[in-house]
């Protein structure tokens, strides 16, 4: 098996809560990320889904070194990048770039598009010789579907979708191998969203990119991902290929999450089973003992409060094989289909 391009082990990020001004005493911690493991193979897309506050954006920030992990390893081609600093860190960062959610606040309004994209070459001068930079920027604008003549315009002269393309061009400037995209299309209108998703798809093939794609929209994640990890309260609770997760989920949280997504098909309205979860997500300062989902789980029993379920193939499916046999952190994992079967009515066919 080839070595994964990125491997994350036991990743933890705790933000300390302190009291007192002179004598700062730690009285607790916000456990934003609390033990996450995954790997990313070359050329593949790993989708990470979860609701707000589950820690998915904190994971993204740690991958690109905008946050330092409290514990754990992030291995890029076998090398733990959390311990790097100085030159060695800078060299690695060139290869892992980020695309942000909000195309309005992530572009400096006082810089031209050419400067925004070209800034990468000021930081990493070895990536492009000085005289060649404008040509490179023009090329990048063309690659993401913008007119190369827009070089001297400012961000406010562009629509939301176009700005997101600028953000993508900036991410591509240094020819990275990995792109971490944190909710890259959630601020866009439906018709523009499709354009940007198709662009990301095309760029992946063209530049042999590996994506970590973070989003809360389960339909988009399915569309773009080869494998999916479902996060809840700082941990991945279930992970597998898109078919394994969407058509054969075994963790109750994944099942509830999928069943809550409205499907654009009114025929599915009556016969679809909805799992409505009770209550809200617990605070990450006070994570429940044992299984962290147990306070909202309809299957919870005594064992769930005592024992932390490991993220592994559940014993019940271990011998059977098949699509239900994938990693799921539940003591009582059971397969349950909650997404209506494909082609059960609704709309099909190509555009007119």
């Amino acid at each position: 098996m080839p070595e994964p391009i990125l491997e994350v082990r036991g990743l933890v990020k705790h933000y300390p809560l302190t009291r007192g001004i002179l004598l700062r005493k730690q009285i607790g911690a916000v456990k934003a990320v609390d033990g996450v493991d995954f790997h990313l193979d070359r050329g593949e897309t790993l989708g990470i889904v979860g609701e707000s506050g589950c820690g998915k954006s904190t994971v993204a920030k740690m991958l690109v070194n905008l946050e330092r992990p409290t514990a754990g390893e992030i291995r890029y081609k076998g090398e733990d990048i959390t311990r790097l600093s100085g030159k060695a860190l800078k060299a690695v960062r060139r290869n892992i770039q980020m695309v942000f959610q909000d195309p309005y606040t992530s572009l400096n309004p006082r810089m031209t598009v050419g400067d925004i994209i070209g800034e990468a070459y000021d930081i990493h001068p070895e990536a492009a010789p000085k005289g060649d930079r404008r040509r490179r920027v023009r090329e990048l604008l063309d690659v993401v579907g913008l007119n190369p003549e827009y070089l001297n315009r400012y961000p406010h002269q562009f629509s939301g979708g176009q700005r997101q393309r600028i953000g993508i061009a900036r991410g591509l400037a240094l020819r990275p191998e990995i792109i971490v995209a944190d909710e890259p299309v959630s601020a866009l209108d439906v018709s523009v969203q499709a354009q940007v998703i198709n662009l990301l798809d095309r760029l992946q093939k063209e530049f042999d990119l590996s994506y970590v794609f973070i989003a809360h929209d389960l339909s988009i994640v399915r569309h773009i991902s080869d494998r999916v990890g479902v996060m809840y309260l700082g941990r991945i609770v279930e992970t597998g290929t898109d078919t394994e997760i969407y058509d054969h989920p075994t963790h109750p949280y994944t099942q509830a999450l999928l069943s809550a997504v409205p499907v654009p098909d009114p025929e599915a309205r009556e016969d679809r089973e909805r799992i409505i979860l009770a209550g809200d997500v617990p605070s990450p300062t006070n994570i429940p003992s044992g299984c962290r989902f147990r306070t909202r789980c309809w299957k919870a029993r005594e064992r769930c409060a005592l024992e932390v379920p490991a993220l592994a193939v559940p014993a019940a499916f271990r011998d059977e094989g098949g699509p239900a046999a994938h990693d799921s952190a539940c003591h009582f994992a059971e397969e349950k289909r909650v997404v209506p079967a494909e082609g059960s009515g609704g709309h099909g066919g190509g555009p007119g």
Binding site: V192, L218, D242
Partner: protein
């Protein structure tokens, strides 16, 4: 008809010229019915709703034509004083962002109770008791204690429940919900939509649901009106539109969303961008982005053709679109 909007026109005066936000919108809602108004940003869906509700800022907005008939009465002809009696008591609105719609320095009990002290002339004590009842009704646990808390002490889903409670307080006949669940997580969205649908059934209210989410529409709506550039481009019962859209824009929207139930190949993307409302294209406003556009589309504004007795489409070639 409980509410009927007829040929409504609204424009805004901006530095770049006149933005024509609503250009002849007509729709209606019956008691107990849910009408979904679907559109992208800038389609005029929220401006229409604000005009119906009487909360449009004028200026910069200006209503240049049309009628808003509520139980037969034209609301646009009422004086502000009379209008205020309709608002809250007969029709109410739920907004997208509950945190910025609630007053941060008043307890939720005070804000809910205000509905009763202002509109019903109740004492503060009675109003407080009604506030607790309402919070129970929208299933906020521990209502008796939480009535004394401030909005920031509630989660997003709970705040949206408070907004719903406030809208329901005087048992209005019509509720307008503008993207009520867009800011919420999916599991919470499901809870809130279920609550809203249940209360609507119980009280037999008309509901106008403004949204951009085709999934939510399929879940709860009876009828749909699709808006583009300030016009209704297609209106139909919910089942018909998902079976076979009669307008290329609706078709494009349905094709461009990724599906939960299968992986799919490349997404269909409507080319280009929604129009600038100060420079709406001639003829059919969708023609620059339309795969079916012909010469007539550039010159003639399509009327809302009758597709069947309960369906309308503003496309010169709706038959072709249906057959496609």
């Amino acid at each position: 008809m409980l509410l009927e909007v007829r040929d409504l026109h609204v424009e805004f005066h901006t530095r770049d010229g006149v933005a024509r936000a609503v250009n002849g919108v007509s729709y209606g809602v019956d008691a107990g019915e849910t009408l979904a108004v679907l559109g992208e940003s800038g389609s005029g869906k929220s401006v229409t709703a604000q005009t119906v509700m009487g909360i449009l800022d004028t200026p910069p907005g200006r209503i240049t034509g049309g009628e808003v008939l509520f139980e037969g009465r034209d609301l646009l002809k009422l004086k502000e004083e009379q209008r205020r009696k309709v608002r809250g008591a007969e029709m109410a609105m739920i907004f997208q962002d509950a945190l910025s719609s609630l007053n941060p320095v008043l307890t939720v009990g005070d804000q809910l109770g205000e509905m009763f002290t202002v509109h019903r002339g109740m004492s503060r004590k009675d109003a407080r008791a009604r506030a607790v009842e309402l919070m129970d009704r929208v299933r906020i646990p521990g209502a008796r204690e939480r009535v004394k808390q401030y909005p920031h002490q509630f989660s997003g889903g709970m705040r949206q429940r408070i907004m719903i409670a406030m809208a329901m307080a005087l048992e209005p006949k019509l509720i307008i919900a503008d993207e009520p669940t867009t800011a919420l997580d999916v599991t919470v969205q499901a809870q809130v939509m279920e609550l809203l649908a249940e209360l609507q059934r119980e009280l037999r209210m008309g509901l106008i649901l403004i949204t951009h989410d085709l999934g939510v529409v399929a879940d709860v709506a009876d009828r749909i009106a699709v808006m583009y550039a300030g016009r209704i481009v297609e209106t139909a019962p919910v089942h018909d539109i998902y079976q076979a859209p009669a307008h290329p824009y609706t078709r494009g929207l349905l094709e461009s969303i990724p599906r939960l139930d299968h992986k799919g190949r490349e997404l269909y993307a409507i080319k280009g961008l929604p129009p600038n409302l100060t420079r709406i294209p001639s003829g059919c406003p969708f023609h620059p982005r339309c795969p079916m556009a012909r010469d007539v589309c550039r010159t003639d504004v399509p009327p809302l053709y009758e597709v069947s007795p309960r369906r309308g489409s503003a496309c010169h070639f709706f038959r072709e679109c249906l057959d496609a």
